[in-house]
């Protein structure tokens, strides 16, 4: 297994937001904020393991959430973290076909009444609560045994490329106010692709 870092996610994001850059400049006086620390997200480790005929994914994510983002969560905003997982079959001369792709989504919010942080798996609806943000973030950034693909779907002797990246955004609980986040600090971040090959 060989690990490579595909540096495409950041560029795509910047390109997508480029048209709005000058609008920010135009109305800079309205939304001017002091300099802030950026959110950083990085997939530090990812691996798959065969468990009872199913490949399960383990991911370790390095996440640095600035204090402003933590205050925003405590104020009521929701932190959403999406794991994007893709499996391609590697071919020498032809384009690589997609074999499987998966988005595993989590939401982290603060429950003021119970003073606990709630971590919800948006795919399964499972919810966990934590007494502190660090423990909640530890759970958020650690994925263990996520069922990825049935082993029978992968041909023996064929090389597959598996990629994982994480995208973090801050949203309002009801989406009606999400457009206002356009005018707030941008706490969102997307990691580079973490890719490796697997040959069953």
């Amino acid at each position: 297994m060989s690990n490579t870092q595909a540096r495409t996610g950041g560029f795509d994001r910047r390109l997508r937001r480029l048209p709005f850059a000058w609008a920010f400049c135009f109305f800079a006086t309205l939304v001017a904020e002091p300099a802030r620390a950026d959110t950083t997200v990085e997939v530090t480790r990812a691996a798959i393991a065969l468990d009872e005929g199913v490949y399960a994914l383990d991911v370790d994510l390095g996440l640095n959430l600035p204090g402003g983002a933590r205050r925003a969560i405590e104020a009521g905003l929701t932190l959403r973290l999406n794991y994007e997982i893709e499996i391609d079959r590697t071919r020498r001369y032809l384009p690589d076909p997609d074999v499987a792709s998966l988005v595993q989504s989590y939401e982290l919010s603060y429950h003021a009444l119970s003073q606990r942080y709630l971590l919800r798996n948006r795919n399964s609806g499972e919810q966990q609560d934590f007494g502190g943000l660090p423990s909640a973030l530890d759970r958020l950034t650690t994925v263990r045994g996520l069922p990825l693909i049935d082993a029978s779907l992968l041909e023996s002797g064929t090389t597959y490329e598996i990629r994982v990246r994480a995208e973090l955004t801050l949203r309002s609980a009801p989406d009606t106010l999400s457009w206002l986040l356009f005018w707030t600090e941008d706490w969102s971040a997307t990691s580079e692709w973490y890719a490796w090959t697997h040959r069953p």
């Binding site: 609008a23 009521g76 429950h111 009444l113 606990r116 609806g125 309002s172 009606t176 707030t184």
Partner: protein
Amino acid sequence: MDAPALRRAAAAAAMGVGGLLWLSAILFMARTAQHSEPFSRLHPWILMINVAGLVVLLALLATKLTQLVRDWRGHVIGSRLKARMVWTFGVLATLPILLVYFFAVQFLNRGIDSWFNVEIRQSLDDALVLSRSALETRMRDHLAATEMIASELSLSGGPLPGSLEMLRRQSGATEVIVATEYGVIITMSKGLSHDVVPDEVPSEVLLQVRQGRPFVSLEPLAEGGYLIRTAVPLGASSGDRGGMVVQATYPVAERLGALADTVQAAYQQFGEKDYLRKPLKASFILTLTVVLLLSLLAAWYGAIFTAQRLVQPIQDLVKGTRAVAQGDLDTRLPLTSHDEMGFLVHSFNDMTKRLRRAREDQQQAQQVAETERANLAIVLARLSTGVIALEPDLRIRTANRAAGSILGEELDGCEGRSFAGIGGAEGLLRQFSEACRSRLAAGETEWREQLVFPLETGRRVIMCACTPLPREGATHGGYVLVFDDITAMLQAQREAAWGEVARRLAHEIKNPLTPIRLSAERMRHKLMPSMNEQDAKLLDRGTETIVQQVEAMKEMVNAFSEYARAPRFEMTEVNLNQLVSELTDLYRAQVSGRGVTLDLRLDPALAGVVADRGRLRQLLHNLLTNSVEALEGRTGGRISIRTRRTGVGDDAVVELAVEDNGPGFQRELMGQVFDPYVTTKARGTGLGLAIVRKIVEEHGGHVEAENRPDGGARVRVALPLNGAIRGEAARREPHRSEPRRERA
């Protein structure tokens, strides 16, 4: 449809589509500001479209304003009026918009701030604390119940399933788990209504229990409601059951959970909005600002557009007026409206239409007048009669060629010059103008008179008629002088009369002379022998006298006969120098005895002249005889004869001049020296110079007589080199003088 119209239609369509898109974007922006979820994702794009629309409108406005400033500086017609209107409309629109914007921003800031005032925040905090207190009471009760379960289990000697089930029911817990301090479940009791698979004991519970502290927490459930989780160490107090944990979970009453959810939801939404208050205000102000800018720019653009629409007809009118002033009567202004301005444009178009018709009529009339004028000019130019038109102030309006020919000076290009004092001193033109001016000055505006002007070269008789021209409006029309040189005509009439006299003299007198002479000679021959000497002498003297007088009368009659004789030409090429030399040789001996010298200055390059040799000899003879007779009785007399060639081509002439230093011509006879029977000598018929002029005119030439400045007379004869042609012409028009014929 032509290309410009297509471009205009495409531009209008683009403007319309862009305007609709922009308007939609503004409406969407307003909707997003009202928490409309479907437009939340489009918010950046909507904002982008609005800003782009503002930029486009700003660019259009800047273009219009730049054009307006350029027109102002370039003093373009209507630019100042347009600028004033734009300024007025713009200011009138800007002030209320800014006022509304100012108050709207104030209300917006205060309104949003009022949503998040201290009282609301405090109320929510209090509600949250109150909810927590209510729940914490239950949490403490449940913790106490769990501690009792743990105590009972300790007293019973271990976590027996039966006692655990009984304790769970007594405490009201939904689940009781006994596990090791590392989370390994030893035994459990769970209600039948719940999942039989026990939940794991959370690590934070184990951690806190391992530290010897009980754990209690309120946990929101994913499906709604709350759960109170409690955990205490088992046997920690007695020491015999160390390392075990009792976890019990209790439900929260549905009603209480719903109330707690309400408080939680309100608190979370308030906190979220409070966090987003600043961007919310910024967004609202931005939306308001976009609408403000849209209104302002649209108002100014509309002001320019309206001003342009109002000023355009005025600009068109001014341009049209200037075009008409410059003579462009085809100008037509577009009729853009049916109001008063449209009526004015319609009147202008009608005026230019009438002006154009009037100009066309005038041009036609002018063309007719020009044609008639050209015809009249041609007629005047071809007229042999002189015509001079004078202004009321006696400036020359026009003169034909014949006028200049008759008056001896060129009158072409003298239009506008004063008629009085024109021409050289003592010239015919000056004398003629003075004569006319004196009559006009005396108030004689219509007259016809024969005017006689003495000149160095002779007398000129001009028949002149003056008529006033029709008045042109209130101003005097001027005068027209019509005149003709009748000198030659009078001379011809005189010559004809004298020719008739000569012929009758020759016929009536010459015939009886021969019988008279013969009778006298017969009488002397018959009677003289029979008469005495005295009577014979008397008869002889008488008959001799009769014969002499008859001879004298015969010579005179012969001279008259010669004058009246019709010429018979034998045209040959005559060497004039040779002829002059031959004749002067005959005279040289005769005059030398009288102390008169002959001086010949002959042009050696003189070509032969085609003429009748005999008639030229007669001409030279008469001139020399006239000079010799003029020098009779004078000492130091001198006669000069000069020949030379002048002119080129058809105008080439041979000039012969005979001068003497005698008394010259009497001034009062200067105009009559070539008339027959005009002489100052005691002897002579007075036909010498008359015959000279007749011979000259027979050869197509002309002759002039004048007094020399230093005394004496000079006669100049000019004969054309091609004398035959001129001679024929002279015979066809015997009454025309040569210079006048050449000029006409």
